[in-house]
Amino acid sequence: MLFKQISYFVIFTCTSFAFAQEQATIVLDELIISDYKLNSHNKTQTIHKINDSIIQQANGNLTDLLLMNSSIYFKENGSGMVSSPSFRGTTAQQTSVLWNGIGVNSLFLGQTDFNSISYKEFSEIAIKPGGGSVLYGSGAIGGTIHLNNPIRFEKRLDNTLQLGYGSFNTFRVNNNFTLSNEKWFAQININRNQSDNDFEVKNRTWKNTNGQFYNNSASATIGYKIDLKNTLSFYSTYFNDERHFSLVSENQTKTKYQNSYFRNILHWKNEGDSYKSNARIAYFNEGYKYFNNLPTDDYSSGNVNSLIAKYDFEYFVSHNFSLNAIIDYTNHHGTGKNSGIKSAKQEVLGLSVLANHHFNEKMGYEIGFKQEINNSYENPFLYSAGFYYKPANVYQLKINGSKNFRIPTFNDIFWEPGGNKSLQPETSFQFDLRNEFTFKKFSFGLNAYYTKIDNMLQWIPNNTGIWEAQNLKSVAIKGAEFDVQYQFALNKNQFKIQGTYTYTNSQDTELKKQLIYTPFHKITGQISYNYEKFSAGIQTIYNGAVFTTASNLNSSKIEAYALINANMQYHFGRKIKQTIVFEIKNASDVNYENVINRPMPGRNFNIQLITKF
């Protein structure tokens, strides 16, 4: 009912705003990204980009960055601990993270831990709500998060060093070096981040204990323009971390977790007048070690090697109509030690066909189909179809419908005991409608969507006392997202205001209750101010209450909270450009948690010096 009203309002409001003033379109510089489909084949869906200056100034982990800059809700097991996203009311495994266009969710858990991933090396992070399985495969149900290292062939030599220090003995160093010309591009980034994470907890006699963590990463991006038609690029990243897991009870046995990944992609792009050919080959490794009984060295571990090959050929039948075939092959091989998984193997072959037709600048459609083939379970036939219409520069309409899926994880299938070899993938149908209004200083967008997910995978104890994986319930999600930007200047004073509001009604179809850990409401707001060399900003987030029981008992509710972060920046230096950033997080010192009995830190401070030379 609510959904009907939303769509009615949306459609009604579009027509009244359809004709207004013109505005020049912004032409982006041509750049090479391995995730090239993001810009060329997603015209009928929403994409929000976080630019490099926001990424550079950010401190904390990827959760903190996305919490303030997107509509995604995060379930964080305490500060710095395991962080699971819920995008559009879906589960953590239904949000896919892509590194340069290739999915990197853990093969064991099916999700990305947003507190155990490096992000400082990316100059582009894009957030795309909605289904994307035709392009991005398993897990792209709630939305996709794209971490990209764009390559630009231009004369450039620079080095940026960031040094940060903050409360709870938190310390960060990041160095980013870029050297490029018309033919070559090289970028190297190294990062170290660590924290004692021992904040005081209100109304509790003991501090956050055993929460210390560190992480290290190193990455390289190399591009070589062979000739006008051919480009080779290579992406490589290595990450490792160690997190002690904060105690939920004072005398609990201490544990820690180590994660690592090593990922490489080689990409050959060949482009002619009437075709684009993209060949990619990737080798990934992920591993973890879990120490369940500190201070002893007892641990259990898992490791997966993945080989991925993708070939994509796009043929332009005419300048505005293209046909596209993609074939991809992945081979994952996992092993475990002292864990429920001894050995696990998965081979997947995928075939996709896409058609893009842009009638003119104002109107076009995109269609895609995908079928994956796998020996252990049946794969659904996937599709997506979208339409965009831009009758005037101020207004654009995007409509998209798709069928998406998520395959069971290694743990779901192979874990002994309880893994289930007869599981089916989760499947999802989704319909999404977006209105975008762009004026000179002011723009806003409104999405309404409906998602139905079946065969939800769940671990549940059976009556022989063993927890096992099962395809159980169905979920129906109705939601709306609203985003607004407004910027203006008064003399030399520049202001920028941004805000988002999301409403998510994600119901278990049998119980007719909101899914646990899914807030109905999330609001984010940001105000930035700049005056010559000085800038300041306030960021705020309101996270609605969540239930922790399936029947939505009020006694199990985690209350809503609102947080405020504030920062000040001063830019100085001529030859060597420096910026000093001072930030207060949780400025109003709110005592909050977003998972039961996992308190989060109160007011805390960070200082950062960014030097560019």
């Binding site: 005398n251 609990q252 104890p461 509001y501 409403y503 009604n505 029981t549 029947s551």
Partner: protein, 342 residues
């Protein structure tokens, strides 16, 4: 536009509020001198890593359930993470908090906290009392730790060969049942005067239950092929019977000289003389979801069973008579795993 957004938000808010209908938790304290006497204490383990374990109480006449009795009687403090087990010694109840590595000691009739034990605990599973001492099985380091029952002072740690699960004690011995995940299927016996592991008994099948009748110990073993029940007296296995048609049986409990165990959703019984293991149940509990029979016990001729609702919701406790008639159903807390006569 702003108006529309506002009305949308309002609509959303209204619909979200109207979604919620709650069962009210009865958290009042029974108005008698010993509020929790003459009834059944229930451990609700809670969600792992969430510190939301609690204890419930049902009166013997099955008239009322009282939830959250630990918080209610202890200024709303949290009990801790994973209430695994509970046992009584004189007027005290000892609650084994597995992932808190703590034993909470409360007055068994008022539920006021008296003390706690934390020394040398490492993921404790169960507790027993013998010879003026407290014995606790620890799953993380395969030990039994020993404490003085009067002072709660740590005495010693006894190493085991296998990961322990439950333990029971007579006046001379402590019998430690190996976990069904252990590498060997054993009952390791500790002499409670010397506090040493004097004897290990080996069984054919993984251990899935242990119970005590004064000086006799009964154990249940089962796997995908069969079920076996044995009797132990002093340091020896004195009788073993098996049934090759019953697979993956669980729990073993004693009530009025009869042993009870479960298999699937079936409740089975046999005499403690161990004549034979029956092939058919006395009745089946209702199979409501995947986590039926997460908790089970037979107390004074009543069968207590819990459905843990997949740990995403409060548990449902159903009480049956011995012919399978439902006597009463209660809503308890997250992960109800045990019933204890008080």
């Amino acid at each position: 536009m702003k108006k529309i957004i506002l009305s949308l938000a309002l609509l959303a808010f209204v619909s979200s509020c109207s979604n919620v209908d709650d069962n009210s938790d009865n958290t009042e304290v029974p108005n008698v001198e010993k509020p929790y006497a003459n009834g059944i204490l229930i451990t609700n383990e809670g969600n792992f890593q969430s510190s939301n374990a609690e204890i419930s109480f049902i009166k013997n006449d099955l008239s009322t359930v009282y939830n959250k009795i630990f918080a209610t009687n202890n200024s709303n403090t949290t009990l801790g993470d994973v209430a695994q087990y509970m046992a009584f010694n004189n007027d005290l109840a000892y609650i084994v908090m597995n992932n808190s590595s703590t034993i909470e000691i409360v007055d068994r009739y008022t539920f006021k906290k008296v003390n706690q034990i934390t020394a040398n605990l490492n993921a404790p599973r169960a507790i027993a009392f013998s010879n003026g001492k407290i014995y606790v099985s620890n799953a993380n380091d395969n030990t039994v730790t020993v404490y003085n029952a009067n002072t709660n002072a740590f005495i010693k740690s006894i190493s085991l060969d296998n990961q322990p699960e439950k333990l029971v004690a007579t006046s001379n011995y402590v019998y430690v049942q190996s976990s069904s995940y252990a590498s060997a299927n054993t009952v390791e016996i500790i002499n409670s005067s010397s506090d040493t592991n004097t004897k290990d008994l080996s069984f054919e099948l993984p251990m899935n239950g242990i119970t005590l009748d004064s000086n006799m110990v009964f154990v249940l073993g089962s796997d995908e092929n069969k079920t076996e029940i044995s009797k132990i007296e002093n340091e020896a296995i004195t009788k073993t019977i098996s049934n090759v048609s019953l697979k993956s049986s669980r729990y073993l409990t004693l009530d009025n000289n009869n042993l009870y165990f479960t298999n699937g959703t079936g409740i089975y019984t046999l005499s403690k003389d161990l004549n034979s293991i029956p092939s058919s149940p006395i009745f089946n509990v209702n199979d409501n979801s995947w986590s039926t029979l997460y908790g089970f016990n037979v107390i004074d001729g009543k069968v207590f069973s819990s459905d843990a609702n997949g740990f995403t919701d409060n548990s449902i406790v159903t009480v049956y008579d011995l012919t399978g008639n439902v006597l009463k159903t209660f809503t308890t807390e997250i992960g109800t795993n045990g019933f204890y006569k008080n």
